[in-house]
């Protein structure tokens, strides 16, 4: 049984995510931008939930959309989607597998494709900025309209900066409403050091859904 983490695409809960998709579309660095790294300053800010739901909403408009669990340190998408953790991203990079061989497709979720993190890796920090990752992303950007990468928190690992260093990849930072200002500032400083293109900030858990009679 999968965890409860997805919005109903036709419900009011999906509207903030549609607004996010439009904002990202409007602010994307260039038309070639296909990759979106979802990260957060610290763990527990709702990054994986937001990235999965963003991918879900995007999958209903743009096709194909691939959601990649790029958090090789503490992967979560496999349990959220009730998928095996391995094979996944690590196997594609290590064993040079065809990425689509390890990608799971959800026809009931607008044809969303999900790639899990794969087996645990000794030094995941080296992988994110590697040439192999760059080649994989290049390939996926060719195949997909959008690639959503769920990466570790910026202040916990350099993976987000590494992923953002690849061409056509922008960064979205998810912060919890109760998060600390200095953590966000530190995360942004760290991303600025690698000249990552930060599209903006998503504030999570900001009040309750106001739908009224809509």
């Amino acid at each position: 049984m999968s965890a409860r983490f997805l919005v109903e695409p036709d419900s009011a809960s999906a509207e903030p995510l549609r607004a996010l998709r439009l904002a990202i579309e409007a602010r994307a660095g260039s038309p070639e931008t296909k990759g979106l790294v979802f990260t957060s300053p610290r763990p527990g800010e709702g990054r994986s939930t937001i990235s999965a739901n963003y991918a879900l909403v995007a999958a209903h408009v743009q096709r194909p959309v691939l959601l990649v669990d790029a958090d090789m340190r503490s992967p979560s998408l496999h349990s959220m989607f009730d998928l095996p953790q391995s094979p996944g991203l690590v196997e594609v990079l290590r064993d040079r597998l065809d990425p689509w061989q390890v990608t799971h497709t959800f026809p009931s979720l607008g044809g969303l494709h999900v790639m899990t993190a794969g087996a645990p890796l000794a030094r995941p920090g080296d992988v994110a900025a590697s040439t192999a990752m760059g080649e994989l992303l290049e390939r996926m950007y060719e195949d997909c309209e959008a690639v959503v990468l769920d990466s570790p928190p910026v202040l916990s690992a350099a993976d987000a900066s590494g992923l953002a260093s690849h061409a056509g990849t922008d960064v979205v930072i998810v912060v919890n409403r109760s998060g600390k200002r200095r953590h966000l500032a530190s995360a942004l400083r760290r991303l600025a050091l690698t000249e990552a293109n930060v599209l903006g900030v998503v504030v999570n858990r900001e009040g309750t859904l106001a739908t009224g009679r809509y």
Binding site: M1, S2, R4, F5, L6, V7, E8, S11, S13, P16, L17, L20, A23, I24, R27, G46, T49, I50, N53, R63, P64, F81, D82, L83, P84, W100, Q101, V102, T103, H104, T105, F106, P107, S108, L109, G111, H113, D143, C144, V172, I173, G179, K180, R181, R182, L184, A185, L188, V198, L199, G200, V201, V202, V203, R205, E206, G207, T208, L209, A210
Partner: protein, 251 residues
């Protein structure tokens, strides 16, 4: 921190401030109510220096005022307690419980002697006896030129506990103190600014604010016919593993 920040911080902590202030006010009301009722009686006395010539009225008044100040200090020091006790012996008990004080009336040769006690009669008796004790004290000291006359004695009345004043003060001080406390907490907590200001504060736009969402699990659905045999065996209903090398257009 701008005035707007302060206002928003206070508004965010409105419940905290309201609850703590209510506790302040409640505690003040309780303590004030529990205070023992006190009674106060006073005697107004005139202090005159005898033997002055009529033309020296101004200097006589000045001398009397000085004397009034001296007598006030003597009464406040408790030097007359023994004499007063002798005077009221048998009339009231527990005399030491009564508090006696004296205040010179400004610009006049008058002195107000006040007695406070938890017993109304005791306060009146002590207030009436203290001028007599003062007169005896002056006589015993050998002074012939000074004279003390009791002008008026005010009977005992309950001293107000100032309940309304205390509660109003507690309310005002509580709001100020708790508001300041909320601002300190705001600084210590280092919380994110409001989404409207976050973009300006961090130099990146706020793309969206996501409220608490109604979430559900992955809905079960029919396979799209491209499910691999191996993946089917995992029991992932509605999920297929893509087998092609390039997707092209997707369903």
């Amino acid at each position: 921190m701008t005035a707007g920040d302060v206002y928003r911080a206070l508004w965010r902590h409105k419940v905290f401030i309201a609850v703590l202030t209510a506790a302040f006010v409640g505690a003040t009301w309780y303590v004030t109510k529990r205070q023992t009722q006190e009674y106060e009686a006073s005697a107004l006395v005139r202090v005159q220096e005898r033997g002055r010539k009529a033309g020296d009225a101004a200097s006589a008044l000045q001398a009397s005022q000085t004397l009034a100040q001296v007598y006030a200090k003597i009464i406040d020091s408790g030097a007359l307690a023994g004499q007063t006790k002798k005077l009221v012996a048998g009339k009231v008990r527990n005399l030491s419980e009564a508090k006696v004080s004296a205040t010179p009336v400004q610009d006049l040769d008058l002195l107000t002697i006040t007695a406070r006690s938890t017993n109304a009669r005791r306060a009146t008796v002590v207030a009436s006896a203290t001028p007599i004790a003062l007169r005896a004290f002056i006589r015993d000291s050998g002074s012939q030129s000074e004279h003390v006359v009791t002008v008026d004695t005010t009977p005992s009345s309950a001293v107000s506990k100032h309940l309304a004043l205390n509660v109003a003060l507690a309310l005002m001080l509580g709001l100020i103190f708790n508001g300041a406390l909320a601002l300190v907490l705001e600084l210590v907590r280092d919380r994110l600014p409001e989404p409207d200001e976050l973009g300006r504060a961090v130099g990146h736009p706020v793309l969206a604010t996501i409220p608490t969402l109604r979430l559900h699990g992955v809905p079960p659905a029919a396979s799209d016919g491209r499910t691999s045999q191996a993946f089917d065996s995992l029991g992932n209903e509605g999920v297929s593993r893509t087998s092609g090398s390039r997707l092209g257009s997707e369903p």
